[in-house]
């Protein structure tokens, strides 16, 4: 019924946008895998990072792909500080409290942005925003291709950190057996904060990749983070490969449902996938843990 000439570009575009989703989802799944809580501040941090990238371009004239070198470490420090000095001490080691504190932080960040910048939607103009590459079957937006490549580069870098560095080993140890790691001399509070910092840095990178073709307003992160929740649940909470595959699947599903159902219903489609997966198979398609 539908010719491949329409279907193929839709699928390829879905894969490209899915890669950006993957970055947001990676941060979320990393934090869940180690701290065993869902970071409800993730979306608000993404909004904040998009604003940071926006102002880096407008005020400092930094191209987003350059600004990432500044913003990723900055947001790592922000995430580290949030967990080490606010979320950790405030929640007294209780998971339910930790959820509430991240929710509180989300509300604060989002509304500080709203208070400071109002609900206006802003965009930036970069010369390559409309550039495309001809691959025969379709045209690809340059910024999306860069995003796709960068997402995989970041995932690979994370894998390297987790596998070959001391802090990576400590993170894996805490994720598996917190008490045991603590007894072996691992500073759990530090590991939690590093994990939170890494997750937040992922969000900053995603923001720099998004801003050339996307817009920013105080609640823009929410849409992404609900997609990221879906991906993380789909791929299995805490699973990095699951998040990558889940993100690509969701990207394609969104692109195709947008093609068949229109934009606003496409969004509901994501939620329905999310709720059905949560109810039917909360451990995710690839997760082993119940």
């Amino acid at each position: 019924m539908l010719s491949p000439a329409i279907l193929v570009p839709a699928i390829i575009n879905g894969l490209l946008i899915g890669a950006i989703y993957a970055l947001v989802a990676l941060g979320l799944t990393l934090i869940y895998g180690v701290l065993h809580i869902i970071n409800f501040a993730h979306g608000a941090l993404l909004s904040a990072a998009l604003f940071a990238a926006f102002f880096a371009f407008r005020l400092l004239g930094l191209d987003p792909y350059v600004a990432v070198l500044l913003l990723a470490p900055l947001f790592f420090a922000l995430g580290y500080g949030l967990q080490r000095f606010i979320i950790g001490p405030a929640s007294h080691g209780d998971d339910r409290n930790m959820l509430l504190v991240t929710l509180g932080i989300a509300v604060i960040i989002e509304n500080v942005l709203l208070y400071a910048f109002r609900a206006d939607t802003r965009t930036i103009d970069v010369p390559y925003a409309l550039q495309t590459i001809d691959i025969g079957a379709t045209f690809l937006a340059v910024s999306r291709v860069v995003g796709f490549a960068a997402a995989f580069a970041v995932a690979f870098a994370l894998w390297l950190i987790m596998t070959f560095t001391d802090i990576g080993r400590a993170i894996r140890a805490v994720a598996k057996e917190k008490l045991g790691a603590e007894l072996a001399g691992v500073d759990v509070a530090h590991v939690y904060a590093v994990t939170f910092g890494l997750g937040t840095a992922c969000v900053a990178i995603a923001a720099c990749l998004l801003i050339p073709t996307y817009y920013v307003n105080p609640t823009v992160g929410d849409a992404f983070v609900l997609v990221a929740f879906t991906i993380v649940v789909l791929g299995g909470m805490g699973s990095v490969p699951g998040a990558l595959i889940g993100a690509l699947l969701v990207g394609v599903a969104e692109s195709l449902s947008g093609l068949f159902l229109g934009e606003s219903l496409g969004q509901i489609g994501i939620f329905l996938i999310f709720i059905v997966v949560l109810l039917v198979r909360p451990s995710g398609l690839f997760g082993a843990r119940a």
Binding site: Y32, H36, I37, I38, F40, I86, P89, A90, S91, H92, D94, D95, R96, N97, L99, L100, V101, L103, G104, I105, A106, V107, I108, E110, N111, V112, L113, L114, Y115, R118, A119, P218, L226, F229, V233, S264, Q267, I268, F271, L272, F274, I275, L278, L279, V280, P282, A290
Partner: protein
């Protein structure tokens, strides 16, 4: 019966307020605070006593409000009937959502996430569906009278919401003193142990969720009768999900009077902020978010828990209270 005396005294005291206070501004403040207290008591039944933290109680608030408004505006149903139908619809949604989530074994983070997602799905649907007025919202016709449940005087609305809050207080107290309440607390403290003792954990949680949803829906029904306007952002927005959980947490989670006390504090803080900085968008929510973090950090058992701690300190001395603290932690 004796245990209900303090509740009766508090309600009698509050009921006398409009006889003394005639300022519409003050009464309006109290009406909104009581409405939030009712929504918060709903959250408290499930979250405070049952330990199931919902991040999307707006789902019930909004459903109650929309059902009340739509039945009256689109189908000409009597206001009182619409109000009751709104509560029933909220409770039914609670039953459906509870049946789905608890049967799949969703707890903690997952439960918070799925409630949040449901509220968000409902918000998106309400913002596009024609029956809710989509983006424009739904406006109720001004038609004063007892039959239409609309009054000129703030005092009448005040007594109505006070009666609802009174019913919610008595319900919480009855739950606290019943076998059901003990089961619910057992599930909160350790669900697996409760199950091992033969408690039907899912059934207990489901019952709590239905009561909880009905109460929060009642607050939504009241909202639309009072303000006569509704859109998807009001009905299913973050503001109500946050306040529903904030009030019991500030006042004292899992206590009868926590939500009422918390609602008065939250609303006072919101008003104080407006006085200091003007009515800027987002300001009240910044304060609510900050208060949430600070209360969890420094007063995890809320104001009521804080008072109890202080009394213990004064009567028994620091040593005894230190021991109690250690036992609790």
């Amino acid at each position: 019966m004796k245990a209900l005396i303090p509740t009766a005294a508090v309600l009698a005291l509050l009921a006398a307020v409009p006889l003394v206070v005639h300022s519409n501004v003050t009464l309006n403040f109290l009406v909104v605070a009581l409405m939030i207290a009712l929504a918060g008591q709903g959250w408290n039944i499930l979250g405070g006593y049952g330990g199931q933290y919902s991040f999307g109680h707006a789902a019930f608030f909004g459903t109650g409000a929309y059902v009340t408004a739509i039945l009256q505006v689109r189908y000409g149903v009597n206001a009182w009937l619409g109000f009751v139908a709104g509560i029933a619809a909220g409770a039914a949604l609670g039953a459906a959502l509870g049946a789905l989530t608890f049967r799949s074994g969703l707890r903690g983070s997952y439960f918070a996430l799925v409630t949040l997602a449901f509220a968000e799905v409902l918000r998106i649907i309400a913002s596009v569906a024609p029956i809710t007025g989509a983006g424009v919202g739904i406006l109720m016709k001004l038609d004063l009278g007892v039959r239409t449940l609309q009054f000129q005087s703030r005092a009448a609305f005040y007594w109505i919401i006070l009666a609802l809050v009174g019913a919610s207080l008595v319900t919480a107290q009855l739950i606290e003193r019943s076998r059901f309440g003990v089961w619910l607390i057992a599930v909160r403290e350790n669900e697996d142990a409760a199950k091992a003792l033969g408690i039907n954990a899912n059934g207990v949680k489901l019952a709590a969720m239905v009561i909880s949803a009905g109460m929060t829906a009642a607050a939504g029904c009241f909202y639309v009768q009072y303000f006569l306007f509704l859109d998807s952002g009001i009905a299913y927005g973050t503001w109500i999900s946050i306040q529903a959980l904030l009030t019991p947490i500030i006042g004292g989670v899992g206590t009868v009077f926590g939500p009422l006390l918390g609602a008065l504090v939250v609303k006072s803080l919101g008003e104080a902020a407006k006085l200091l900085a003007g009515d800027a968008p987002g300001l009240d929510l910044i304060i609510y978010g900050a208060v949430l973090v600070v209360v969890i950090w420094f007063m995890p058992r809320g104001l009521i828990g804080g008072f109890a701690q202080m009394r213990k300190l004064l009567t028994r001395g620091p040593a005894a209270s230190g021991a109690a603290e250690a036992g609790h932690g």
